[in-house]
């Protein structure tokens, strides 16, 4: 792992020659990488291109076959029409409130819990961890109604509380499990060194493990945001009044009673608009996916 016992100069020389050889290899492998990725991108983009194409069509020509790839005329007004067809501005506001709150809650609380499972010994921790995982093994459709009844007794129906509060309590087994895995990749020597310096457990959590697990935290933030943003079932069941609805519900409301009268062009247009915030979150969260964390200050 660490270059124990190497003498500095021979190490440096070997490193330089390796880097030189590696740069040539990297050249060809880069080209291959680009080619494969490009092929993948095309496959991924085809459905998306059709979404864009549909969003610009006139409702009568949405499903003509053979289909028109580039609609003529391109109705950009579908975007405005679709957005105005329902109070999407209100839905956006609701969704932002719910999503940001639950993202913050989930990211912070899952790190705490995951650290406990990853780093601390406790009686029954294995059993508890299995219990944690088992909570996501039960299909939501059976827990839906008992949970609904629970929230009814708490008086939380038709509010955002059922969608936000549970996030602060661990934020979901998925994230806890993910962070646990990442914490377990951090060498214990770091902990020991820190303890020698007088750090408490919480210090270790906050100052050592958390920064080192930054890519994982970024991933959790992205997923937490997206999960809440696109969540349809829970808002559907817990929210009643139209002015509490979220974007996901709003999109679903485009679906009229029969496919022939559903405004697919508007639905696709607004679906594309709704995709933008999570993509932005992802795009900007990527800076935390930094290459090669250098572990400094460790002696061999």
């Amino acid at each position: 792992m660490l270059t124990v016992g190497r003498r500095a100069s021979s190490y440096q020389a070997a490193r330089m020659s390796w880097l030189r050889r590696a740069s040539v290899q990297r050249g060809t492998s880069l080209v291959i990488a680009y080619l494969i990725l490009a092929a993948g991108i095309i496959l991924i983009l085809i459905p998306l291109l059709w979404m864009i194409s549909t969003s610009l069509k006139d409702i009568g020509s949405v499903f003509l076959f053979p289909p028109q790839i580039i609609p003529d005329p391109a109705l950009w007004k579908n975007y405005a029409d679709g957005w105005n067809a329902q109070p999407f501005g209100l839905f956006l506001r609701n969704t932002l409130v719910i999503t940001f709150s639950s993202m913050v809650g989930q990211t912070f609380s899952c790190a705490l819990v995951a650290f406990g499972f990853a780093r601390l010994r406790g009686t029954g921790s294995n059993v508890l961890f299995m219990l944690l995982l088992s909570t996501i093994m039960l299909p939501i459709y059976v827990t839906l109604i008992p949970t609904f009844i629970l929230y009814k007794y708490l008086g939380w129906l038709d509010t955002f509380l059922p969608l936000i509060v549970p996030s602060f309590f661990g934020g979901g087994p998925f994230f806890i499990f993910l962070m646990r895995q990442f914490f377990m990749t951090i060498p214990l020597e770091l902990d020991d060194a820190a303890r020698v310096d007088g750090a408490t457990t919480f210090d270790i959590f906050l100052k050592i493990c958390l920064p080192l697990a930054a890519p994982a935290l970024a991933a959790v933030a992205i997923f937490a945001f997206l999960g809440s943003w696109n969540d349809f079932l829970q808002p559907l069941i817990y929210l009643q009044r139209t002015d509490h609805f979220t974007l996901a519900i709003g999109l679903n409301l485009f679906r009229a009673e029969s496919t022939a009268v559903t405004p697919w062009n508007q639905l696709m247009a607004v679906s594309l608009l709704v995709m933008i915030p999570p993509l932005l979150v992802f795009f900007f969260a990527q800076r935390y996916f930094i290459q090669g964390i250098v572990i400094s200050g460790i002696k061999g």
């Binding site: 003509l64 076959f65 409301l253 009229a256 029969s258 496919t259 022939a260």
Partner: protein, 478 residues
């Protein structure tokens, strides 16, 4: 499979939109003219309508006499709050809220009704609210689901109210009432999707091929010949089909089975006869349209959920409900409508119709107010609102049988075939609790028959087995 995307709820937009002129024209006169015309219309409908209509009128008088709980008196003072739950789309909810619910509130000062917008996953939400004790006061029901709820005593039984207010549902609506009744008692009012399933045809394609338009007395042979004449291929690939027969859609086989003298679930709910000869023959003829005669596109050739094959001009005839008129109006060609063909010389032609229903929650807090909302929904006033805004077509026999409705100005077709009981007997599918399982088995097991992958002889017995189980369970629980 398209079953879910082509949602099970019926839209009567065009039906209603086309009745706009009628609604506006007969504004003031409707109530005055309803009395004499409705009784004659009712006589006409009950004469041609199947036993169910007669049975229900008889049953409701006897049951109201033996009503267990007397209808409560109207509440004194205060305002009753009601929640009205329905599915819909953004546009429609505006109409439901402003015009239907709003109209009701205006005319009923002691009651405040509010609209609760339901998602396309309507039943889970309704059931969740019911299980959680927050059920809406008045809610709509669609297709074969209603009877299950009635059987579980979830809905307010209406006979006491009908007796107290001397109100007859049949006066304002058309049959069939299969989704409003259970064991002879009324649990809901019919509301939405009134009218027969008919054959919609593309007049332009007929004209171009110089084929005579279908007439209401046509037979299966006429139908098949017409379909063949209108099927065209280009270099071996079909470019136009004579008809579409979307067997995967709920409601399609019934009228053909009945018109052939067969049945699936008998009206007494005790036998399932899909594997008997008349029903099998009808199903086979329908399946042959795609697999043998090739006059109809297969399930794979129909762009399931991706648009309408009739609108695209690729099929000359299309069998669908009365609510399809809205879609047909979007077509760039002239269309007409006609009854389903008579299957053979000896049996009677029967048309299939299904009406959605609206019911009240039995344990609601304001039952009398809920009843008033139900009454309002089927009142001539509200039917006019719903049909003029395209929400639902009218169900009132007086309106349906009026010349204004039947002969649409300028349209090259009459709506006679749609009116229940006018040109032929109209029947609804028999429903028993658990019917959803039979229907699911039917659509799953027969899906591969329609693609030609297997035969009816293989698939139907499996459906019958499920049906027998469901019937047995129903008989047990009584």
């Amino acid at each position: 499979m398209p079953g879910v995307l082509i949602s099970r709820r019926r839209v009567l937009t065009g039906f209603g939109a086309a009745a706009l002129a009628l609604g506006l024209a007969s504004c003031g006169g409707a109530s005055a003219t309803t009395a004499p015309t409705s009784s004659s219309a009712q006589a006409a409908t009950s004469a041609t309508a199947p036993s169910s209509a007669a049975a229900t009128t008889a049953a409701s008088t006897t049951s109201s006499a033996a009503a267990a709980a007397p209808a409560p008196a109207a509440p004194a003072g205060g305002s009753a709050q009601l929640v009205f739950f329905t599915w819909g789309s953004a546009e429609r909810f505006k109409i439901w809220g402003d015009q239907v619910v709003g109209g009701f509130n205006k005319g009923h000062p002691g009651i405040v009704a509010t609209l609760l917008e339901g998602p396309s996953d309507y039943e889970p939400k309704l059931l969740t609210m019911a299980a959680g004790g927050t059920a809406p006061d008045v809610f709509r029901l669609s297709e074969y689901w209603a009877v299950d709820i009635f059987a579980k005593n979830f809905c307010l039984q209406l006979d006491p109210y009908l007796a107290r207010d001397k109100f007859k549902i049949e006066d304002h609506t058309s049959p069939p009432y299969t989704q409003c009744q259970y064991q002879g008692k009324w649990y809901a009012v019919p509301h939405g999707a009134a009218g027969n399933f008919v054959v919609w045809y593309n007049r332009d394609l007929f004209t171009k091929a110089q084929v005579a338009f279908p007439t209401d007395d046509w037979t299966w042979n006429d139908f098949l010949t017409t379909a063949k004449a209108l099927t065209k291929s280009d270099a071996g690939k079909p470019v136009q089909w004579g008809t579409s027969m979307e067997m995967v859609n709920y409601g399609v086989p019934y009228s053909y089975i009945w018109s052939n003298g067969g049945d699936e679930l008998t009206p007494d709910g005790k036998s399932y006869l899909l594997d008997q000869q008349p029903a099998m023959q009808a199903l086979q003829l329908l399946a042959d349209l795609t697999t043998k005669e090739h006059v109809a596109p297969t399930a794979a050739e129909i762009p399931q959920g991706l648009g309408d094959i009739f609108l695209s001009g690729k099929v000359a005839m299309h069998y669908s409900g009365a609510w399809y008129e809205a879609t047909a109006h979007q077509a760039k060609f002239d269309f007409g409508l006609v009854l389903n063909p008579k299957m053979n010389a000896s049996s009677e032609r029967v048309a299939f119709a299904e009406q959605n229903a609206t019911a009240a929650y039995r344990q609601g807090k304001h039952l009398d107010a809920a009843w008033q909302l139900l009454q309002y929904l089927i009142s001539p006033e509200n039917q006019k609102v719903e049909s003029s805004t395209g929400l639902n077509g009218p169900s009132d026999p007086a309106i349906l049988n009026s010349p204004d409705f039947l002969n649409v100005n300028g349209a090259p077709y009459s709506r006679k075939a749609i009116v229940p009981g006018l040109l032929a007997k109209t029947r609804g599918a028999t429903l028993i609790p658990g019917y959803a399982q039979i229907q699911t088995a039917y659509s799953q097991k027969l899906a591969t028959v329609w693609t030609g992958a297997t035969t009816l002889q293989n698939a139907v017995p499996q459906v019958v087995a499920v049906a027998k189980q469901v019937i047995a369970q129903d008989q047990q629980s009584g």
